[in-house]
């Protein structure tokens, strides 16, 4: 380290400070826009330097316009953030005070302050530049304000689920109190399920046919990928579901079959199927896992014919993926009917499995007090409501809780509830009903929402009124109570929906996300598939 001889001029030309701050670019800059405080009770970056008072130490000046806030809520934070008064007296207005901070006036005094570290500046280290300080701060950059009616419309999904849970509970209470015959409950439920399935089936196949006709020219590679993916998951679906009781088979079997066939039989078909089942696909998988816990209770060795048959079907029907485009109409129809047949078959399988399980379930919790059962099932149903997948099913990975948690909770709740019932028929009915309500009904509701909005609203209304009526009947008994209950229930639901939506919207103003240059940047990467 050789010391430089003092007389020699600096050997290096001193680096010229370059204006790097956007606010300081150019000598002439437009006058500072008076920034508006969106909400006077919240902290804004301007608070850090515009407000000319320190409320902690002195009363606010008389002319402190606009944003005088009470000392209470944000006092400490705001007070601590606030700099000392820009001017000693309180005579100057805020506007005049701001004028003093203009770069023009300061530049005359000494060089403008720069937000740079490598320049030796003539300002003290604790100098705070009023213009650039907290300049890059953004508040709520990505907030999307809610609108009232869309919010209310979306809340119908929750209302539907809560209503169906209420109906289930009321049915159970009716069965326990022997006001309702369990066979009639499950009979009506099954009729409804069958009708729902027929509807669902027709929608799905209509859509599929459309898709198939539309996307014949689609990229074959894509179709192959989708089919491949589907079949792998489909086989797990079928293997799980065949051990399970009752009707999920109707759909899950269908699903698995569809997928396996989509790979095996035709590529057109595969593409069409995978697109059309995009919505419900993840749900199927989740539903199937949802029942897997139950399969532990259930007969484990109702060995599925499908796990055995599917590979053979695969082998037989898919020599290559090439003949896909020559699919004929007859194949199309036959596969459809084949799937329906499989659905019915699996439904019967589950039906009988459940029938066989019912005696075991009946005495499952004999040694447990009823109080514990009520409490347990109550918690489980609450868990079901809170962890239910209310999403539209499009962002499948976006759900925080797996929907299997919700379904498992519901099935477990109905299992423990069913174990309080007196006879095997009762148990069987309730279990079947619970599978219909918690397993199949959500799928139908989701599909309905995609198909027709009017139908969705009608179903919501019907559910709410039924739930209200059922609650009324359970509490009081009699048809008058039911009508009163449904009326009151609808009214209350509408009120709560509106109120909650309004509340959420009004709470939005407290949202205060602060971002700035200190936040870690999100790297933008291209995806490489090599």
């Amino acid at each position: 380290m050789a010391p430089l001889p003092p007389p020699s001029p600096p050997p290096i030309p001193p680096p010229v400070p370059v204006e790097t701050h956007p606010n300081r670019a150019g000598g002439l800059k437009p006058p500072v826009q008076p920034r508006l405080l969106p909400d006077p009770t919240r902290l804004a970056p301007e608070d850090a330097y515009y407000a000319p008072s320190v409320p902690r130490t002195r009363p606010p000046p008389i002319n402190y316009d606009g944003n005088v806030r009470p000392f209470s809520a944000t006092r400490a934070a705001v007070a601590a953030l606030r700099p000392p008064p820009a001017v000693p007296g309180a005579e100057l207005s805020q506007k005049e005070a701001r004028k003093h901070t203009r770069p023009s006036s300061r530049r005359r005094r000494k060089g403008a302050w720069k937000k740079l570290l490598w320049v030796k500046q003539s300002y003290p280290d604790n100098y705070t530049d009023t213009e650039t300080f907290l300049d890059h701060l953004q508040r709520n950059p990505r907030v999307r304000p809610y609108d009232f009616w869309p919010l209310v419309a979306d809340s119908t999904i929750i209302v539907q689920h809560v209503s169906s849970v209420a109906i289930f509970v009321c049915c159970f209470v009716g069965i326990v109190q022997e006001r309702l015959s369990p066979v009639s409950v499950v009979g009506w439920g099954s009729v409804g399920t069958a009708m729902g399935w027929i509807l669902w089936d027709s929608w799905v196949w209509k859509k599929e046919a459309e898709e198939a006709s539309n996307t014949v020219q689609a990229q074959p590679v894509e179709g192959a990928f989708e089919g491949d993916d589907g079949s792998s998951s489909g086989s797990t679906t079928s293997s799980v579901n065949n051990q399970v009781n009752g009707e999920p088979r109707i759909i899950s079997q269908k699903d698995s079959q569809k997928e396996s066939r989509s790979q095996s039989q035709s590529r057109i078909h595969g593409l069409g199927l995978s697109i059309s089942t995009n919505v419900s696909d993840p749900q199927f998988r989740r539903r199937s896992t949802g029942f897997s816990a139950d399969s532990a209770i259930g007969g484990p060795d109702l060995a599925s014919p499908w796990t055995a048959t599917t590979p053979t079907a695969n082998g037989a029907l898919s020599p290559t993926g090439q003949f896909a485009f020559e699919t004929t109409e007859s194949q199309f129809l036959s596969s459809r009917n084949w799937q329906r047949l499989a659905t019915v078959k699996s439904a019967f399988l589950i039906y009988f499995a459940l029938l066989g399980l019912s005696p075991i379930l009946k005495s499952l919790t004999k040694s447990t007090a009823s109080d514990s059962i009520w409490a347990l099932s109550c918690w489980l149903l609450i868990m079901n409501i809170f962890s239910f997948d209310y999403g539209s099913g499009e962002g499948a990975g976006a759900t925080k809780f797996p929907a299997s948690l919700s379904t498992n909770a519901a099935v477990m709740a109905s299992t423990v509830l069913a174990s309080r019932l007196p006879s095997t028929t009762h148990v069987f009915s309730l279990m079947l009903f619970s599978i219909e309500v918690f397993g199949l009904f959500p799928i139908f509701r989701r599909q309905l929402r995609h198909i027709s909005w009017t139908g969705h609203m009608c179903l919501t209304l019907a559910l709410v009124m039924t739930a209200g009526g059922a609650v009324g009947m359970t509490l009081r008994g009699g048809w008058a109570a039911a009508i009163l209950g449904s009326f009151l229930g609808s009214l209350l639901t509408a009120f709560v929906m509106g109120g909650c939506s309004w509340w959420l919207i009004s709470l939005q103003k407290y949202k205060n996300v602060v971002t700035g240059p200190w936040d870690p940047a999100r790297p933008v990467l291209r995806r490489h598939w090599d």
Partner: protein, 493 residues
């Protein structure tokens, strides 16, 4: 100086900051001790160069060299050290260090002035940040002055802890320029004739269009250091530029990804991975290259880019955090934290170097003029003087907007318990009460300690004998004899 982070831990920004600042403060005639927790095989008192005394206090380390936050258990030994060493100012470093935060709390209880240096940036969104920010607010609602390493850091700290911006000074980090010299560095005064610019063409080594350009990357391979960007950008840079090589030093969880990328693209002959290097070896790695690539996603200051520039490397870095403030534009090419932009910026930098437009040979001297620890120590000393009242309040805080203003009582933090409680109470609805409780308990512990272990019973440690620097060296010109300055601060009689 008090912080969890100190040598022998592998040196990061905080450790070297503490060490260098302490050394320079000692040179300026102060007495400085460092309090940190114990390290593997290092407990007790150590003397470093120049009589810098380090207390390694035995404490339980929970995570990444941070001690367990026990709030009060540190107080007795802290009080003992403080009295023994006759300390007047406690200067804490790094906001994640519980040692630092507790030390500041206890120091205020004992009636000492406190300074806090923030070295890092924090967001506001996630739960960990919220907790840290609350803790920081607790610590800083009673601190006398805060030092931040960059203006962005200052903005962040002011927001996080709701501070008065005037109580926050910006004092950057620095580098020891002598340790980061370019490979072919000769002091300029040897061949420069005053006033006459010498033949500049002869000086810089010319880079021909076909010469190999080496790009150096030295960073821990973590997500927030932008290793993903690096992994994505390297193949594309190498594909579009012939005669480019990479040297990557550092280790971390992302090293595996990096190696996988190299294997997938068969780039082993063009990219050299060195693993982690010691801080002393950084210079030797740096001088192997011409460009330094720094793809970090967040950075309060970025000492390493200053070191790279000091080694005569052209710097390509992301425009995040405090980085844009650190180096002048002719030394850097900025990129957005996007893969495409980094590739483009690196391409620009390579083109600039190939066209020999960039005078990287001058970087070292320029950086030496910009950053030096002596300067940092001087500026820190001014802060110490300001909070001790050696500089008048008007001068220290004032001349805001070019006008004199009355020193507000608020800025001079009084030691009265009730005033402190008032300040803590404002921290939040629940947190305020909790903090007040902590402070009251701390005060009670202090009273008990004063009775139990009276001050008179504690020995006063003898200071390290100071040498008279009578040489003409400018850096050490401050005579330290006769000064009774203590600790990381000064007492003027």
């Amino acid at each position: 100086m008090i912080s969890d982070y100190f040598f022998p831990q592998p040196a990061g920004g905080v450790e070297s900051h503490i060490y260098q600042l302490s050394t320079k403060l000692i040179d300026r005639g102060h007495k400085v001790i460092i309090i940190t927790h114990q390290y593997e095989g290092r407990t007790g008192v150590r003397y470093l160069t120049n009589g810098l005394k380090v207390y390694h206090v035995p404490f339980f380390v929970i995570y990444r060299e941070t001690t367990m936050p026990t709030v009060f258990s540190f107080f007795p030994i802290f009080r003992n050290i403080v009295i023994r060493e006759q300390i007047q100012i406690v200067h804490g470093h790094a906001s994640l260090s519980s040692f630092c935060i507790e030390g500041i709390l206890h120091a205020r209880t004992m009636g000492l002035r406190t300074v806090f240096t923030d070295h890092s940036l924090f967001g506001f969104a996630d739960a960990a940040s919220i907790l840290t920010n609350k803790l920081l607010k607790f610590c800083l609602s009673d601190v006398d002055h805060v030092i931040c390493v960059s203006h962005t850091c200052k903005e962040n700290t002011v927001l996080r802890a709701s501070l008065d911006p005037l109580m926050v000074s910006v004092i950057p980090n620095a580098v020891v320029a002598e340790n980061f010299q370019p490979l072919s560095y000769t002091p300029h005064s040897n061949y420069r004739v005053p006033g006459v610019p010498p033949d500049r063409r002869a000086v810089p080594p010319q880079i021909g269009p076909d010469d190999t350009i080496t790009i150096v990357v030295i960073s821990r391979l973590f997500y927030n250091k932008g290793t993903d960007l690096l992994i994505a950008a390297i193949p594309r840079i190498l594909a579009s530029h012939r005669n480019v090589r990479f040297v990557i030093a550092g280790s971390g969880p992302k090293a595996i990804d990096l190696e996988q990328m190299l294997e997938r693209n068969v780039l082993q002959d063009k990219v050299e991975m060195l693993g982690s290097v010691r801080h002393e070896e950084v210079r030797d790695v740096m001088v192997r290259g011409q460009i330094y690539l720094h793809p970090s996603l967040t950075e309060a200051f970025g000492t390493v880019i200053v070191e790279a520039a000091s080694c005569g490397l052209y710097v390509v870095c992301t425009r995040v955090g405090g980085i844009p403030e650190v180096l002048p534009q002719h030394m850097t090419t900025f990129a957005k934290p996007e893969e495409d932009d980094i590739v483009i910026a690196t391409g620009k930098a390579i083109a600039a170097l190939r066209s020999n437009k960039v005078r990287t040979d001058r970087f070292h001297d320029q950086v030496k003029m910009m950053y030096s620890w002596t300067d940092v120590a001087e500026r820190t000393e001014r802060v110490y003087k300001g909070i001790c009242g050696d500089i008048s309040q008007e001068e220290f805080y004032g001349r805001y907007y070019g006008q004199a203003w009355k020193a507000s009582e608020d800025r001079v933090r009084s030691f009265a318990l009730i005033d402190r409680l008032k300040r803590y109470y404002g921290c939040g609805v629940w947190a305020g009460k909790l903090f007040c409780l902590c402070v009251v308990i701390d005060y009670l512990i202090y009273v008990v300690l004063e009775m139990w272990f009276p001050r008179a019973k504690i020995d006063i440690a003898r200071s390290w004998p100071k040498k008279l620097h009578s040489s003409g060296d400018k850096r050490f010109s401050i005579s330290s004899r006769g000064h009774d300055r203590q600790n990381s601060g000064s007492s003027h009689h």
